[in-house]
């Protein structure tokens, strides 16, 4: 619901909002420029002094105005010819033209009505309303994504366009909300929807009938400071019934032109004060600094509109159409999908296709619309659920758990729950786990035990599918082919080989960066932007399923580097380890924001074994700021597979790497990386106390051993690996 409230106003109003905010940002400069260039009155100067000086310089003066920026303008007639000038209040002399700035006038008309009169004003008011809705719905989405309002500025993960969208939005949203609210008020006032009470006092009916009082002896003008002045009108020459009319930031009053006596005063009404404050907050006139800040925030909107559209398009592309979806009431198998980015729909489509061709009647629906009463023929329910943020419901699963909780009786047809997630994140498959727990609490029969799919792995999915097939008594082969990212041809430039003597050939492969188009550079697609720790997907010849390798280089390094160990029956690793310089492979970048060292000066503890050194070496290579890094590296044999051995000592000499501890498993006294950790427990504990972040890369067994060793080291400190993980200080990239 909230997302729809964010999506549709955004898409419909994007172009309008871009025009509105660009013109608004340009306009915000004028009050500041005015404030800096207009000659200002000295403190305490009275209106009487100012008016007397101006009258000396321009005897035919009719009106004096002071803008909120302090600029004073006088208007006069001399021999029937009109004149006007910006006035220096110190002398009363003209110092500049009073003509309105044509650029400012053009921008103002564009900003408030698109040069289309009242129709344009209404369009812009609708645009302001759209911006307000976007600001509110966007804030709710940011809070939800971050895991609460208190985590408003929590660090972000995800693809660049989505990240940029939120980064800018959370800075700009206060300004955008203020500007759109004030705009709506001003539109309502323009169209007379807000009553503007008249506060001008009745024009004096009794005047002295005399003329020619010296201005300096008019009490009201002598008492009023220039800083409070809005407007002073002189009596019309020859009209003895006319008076001096003074408007200030407090109200309006009249003075007799013969005696100087005050002839009435009315304060501004509350409504007028509110209206003036709102005008100031919107235009920055009288609050130039605020205006500039609001203008800068408004500049975020064109970027927000662009990135928002990119996010929407990416989501749309990734959500496949389900062909041959059976009606909800007739289907025997009900697939309920909880998807955020759309990739879970792809898995649902694969499952739908496989079950349908096995003769089942299958209905696919979002989890959010779940209602057992709709599925009279259901024999089984299968939930495929991703997770959003810290174990929250993804977009198409909102309200599912609440609904499940309130069901009087759960369906008799059994349930299977499959979670989709990324082990690199805390609370892996947290939402799906909660669904499974709640179903169990409610006494729903389980068709299959709860299971998970890590990082959209087709292998995990096929394995789970075989289990499902067994439970259903059918032969179910799930061949999930995620919509393949666009690959590019990568040319190998160099390779370094290790471990041949150990029957475990491992290579550091370096590919040239492919040419990157301007569009990709702008949108951060493809190889335009990647960092160590991101993943290189390689599609081997004769297969459509890509294999992922951790990147050991950054796009700024100018090359793509991975570490590959030849697996006994591996198709992809065999092809890669046989490449000679000049040979090519097909690859693409997959971002892996969960496995990054992050910014800051906190020490890093990097722990890796075997090919797991790859991304860690990349982090060290990029450590130009010489953040303290302690590397624990496990290998089999010191002579044969000390990957990056030479670089590591170079990096240590340069200060990129503070300390290196190695563990060698095939030595006289075999040692594993967790043993090296235990040996350095004092140092490790000290680093953690200093706020260190721990990053582990390598095989699953090694990672489990590391967690165990860390648990021992942490327990005297009253800490656990889980606690560090929850705080984002302990991340793994395991395979």
């Amino acid at each position: 619901m909230i997302r729809a409230l964010h999506r549709w106003p955004g898409i419909l109003a994007a172009a309008l909002l871009i025009v509105m905010t660009l013109s608004g940002a340009a306009l915000s400069v004028f009050p500041a420029a005015d404030r800096l260039t207009a000659p200002q009155a000295e403190t305490g100067q009275s209106v009487a002094t100012l008016a007397a000086r101006i009258q000396t310089a321009f005897p035919g003066v009719e009106q004096i105005r002071r803008s909120p920026s302090g600029r004073i303008t006088a208007y006069w007639f001399v021999d029937g010819a009109p004149g006007a000038a910006v006035i220096d209040p110190a002398t009363g002399e003209g110092v500049g033209s009073a003509d309105p700035n044509p650029v400012e006038r053009w921008l103002t008309n564009l900003h408030r009505s698109l040069f289309l009169g009242d129709g344009g004003r209404i369009a812009m008011a609708l645009g302001a309303a759209a911006m307000l809705i976007l600001a509110i719905s966007g804030s709710v989405l940011v809070a939800r994504r971050a895991g609460g309002w208190r985590r408003w500025f929590a660090p972000l993960r995800g693809p660049l366009s989505g990240k940029l969208h939120v980064e800018i939005a959370r800075l700009a949203v206060p300004g955008l909300a203020l500007s759109s609210l004030t705009a709506l008020w001003m539109s309502a006032a323009t169209f007379g929807l807000i009553p503007i009470a008249e506060s001008a006092p009745a024009f004096p009916s009794e005047v002295s009938g005399e003329t020619g009082v010296p201005i300096l002896s008019i009490d009201l003008l002598a008492r009023t400071q220039v800083a409070a002045l809005r407007e002073l009108n002189f009596p019309y020459p020859g009209d003895t019934t006319d008076v001096f009319t003074l408007k200030t930031d407090q109200g309006t009053g009249y003075s007799d032109q013969g005696t100087g006596a005050s002839l009435g005063w009315t304060d501004l009404t509350g409504w007028e004060r509110v209206s003036e404050t709102i005008y100031m907050l919107h235009t920055g006139q009288g609050a130039a600094l605020l205006g500039v800040v609001l203008g800068l925030m408004a500049l975020g909107v064109p970027i927000l509109a662009t990135t928002g559209l990119l996010v929407w398009l990416a989501g749309r592309r990734s959500r496949p159409r389900i062909k041959g979806n059976q009606p909800a009431a007739r289907a025997e198998t009900i697939l309920l999908v909880g998807s955020e980015g759309g990739s879970t729909w792809g898995f649902a489509a694969t499952l739908h296709r496989a079950l349908s061709s096995a003769g089942q009647t299958v209905h696919v629906a979002p989890m959010s619309g779940f209602d057992p009463a709709l599925h009279g023929m259901a024999q089984r329910f299968i939930v495929l659920a991703a997770t959003y943020g810290d174990g929250d419901a993804p977009e198409t699963a909102k309200g599912f758990i609440e609904r499940l909780k309130t069901l009087a009786t759960v369906p008799a047809a059994p349930l299977a729950v499959l979670g989709f997630g990324d082990r690199g994140y805390p609370d892996y498959c947290g939402f799906a786990q909660r669904v499974a727990d709640m179903a169990e609490t409610q006494g729903w029969d389980m068709l299959l035990p709860f299971d998970t799919i890590n990082r959209q792995s087709p292998h995990d999915f096929a394995r789970w599918g075989r289990g499902l097939g067994e439970a259903l008594g059918i032969d179910l082969e799930l061949d999930h082919q995620p919509v393949l990212p666009v690959t590019e041809t990568l040319t190998l430039v160099s390779r370094r080989d290790y471990g041949a003597e150990m029957q475990a050939p491992t290579s550091i492969l370096r590919f040239a960066l492919p040419r990157v188009t301007v569009w990709k550079r702008l949108t951060g697609q493809g190889f335009a932007r990647f960092e160590a720790g991101d993943l290189l997907g390689i599609v081997p010849i004769g297969s459509t399923i890509p294999r992922l390798y951790s990147l050991a280089s950054d796009w700024r390094d100018g090359f793509i580097e991975i570490v590959v160990k030849r697996q006994p029956s591996g198709l992809c690793s065999a092809q890669l380890t046989q490449l000679a310089p000049g040979d090519t492979a097909l690859g693409y970048v997959r971002h892996n924001p969960g496995f990054k060292p992050g910014k800051g000066r906190a020490p890093l503890i990097l722990i890796g074994a075997g090919t797991g050194i790859g991304p860690l070496a990349g982090f060290i290579r990029g450590n130009k700021k010489r953040r303290p890094i302690h590397l624990f590296f496990g290998m089999r044999h010191l002579q044969n597979d000390f990957l990056y051995g030479e670089e590591l000592s170079n990096w240590q000499a340069k200060g990129y790497l503070t300390r290196l501890d190695t563990a060698v498993s095939r030595a006289d006294t075999p040692s594993y990386v967790q043993d090296a950790l235990r040996a350095e427990r004092g140092e490790v504990a000290r680093l953690i106390r200093d706020g260190a972040r721990i990053m582990v890369c390598g095989g699953r067994g090694m990672a489990a051993g590391v967690t165990e060793a860390l648990a021992e080291i942490l327990s005297p400190m009253g800490l656990t690996p889980q606690a560090l993980r929850a705080g984002g200080r302990y991340v793994e990239d395991v395979y």
């Binding site: 009719e62 009106q63 208007y75 009109p82 008249e198 001008a200 009745a202 019309y236 009319t245």
Partner: protein, 156 residues
Amino acid sequence: MKTLLATLALTTALTLPGLALARPVTLTTTLTNYGGDGAYLAFYVTDASGAYAGSLWMAGGRSRYYTHLSDWHRATAGDTAQIDGITGASVGAGRTLEITLDLADALFDAGYTLRIDAAVEDMRDSPNEVSVPLTTDGAGTAVSGRRYIADFTYDM
């Protein structure tokens, strides 16, 4: 010069007691290129003693700007009932406004004066922009305004 035409035939533009006979009068107002937004113009009539007699036309629809038409505003205390049904759009710089209305015969050659107040956003207010006696002889004679009006004519 571009002509913005607002030709209107009003049965009774100015209702005064005992004035039954009326004739169509065309008011033609051409603005100078003063380099600003559309001008607000108030057309009204004062009697021989200078007292307000009634309004003929208001160019400009937003009442909150009427205080800038200061003589008209002073005479009517900003009473928008005075211009009910005789309000049109503001007039752009360099454009011409043409209004035809039925004016009572008794307004002519009887000391009445037709006045126009003008105001433009962010520019000077110009009350008494035009002030011209209503006489049968004066019909067809162009007069110029003080600041915004290049020429003004009434034709019978």
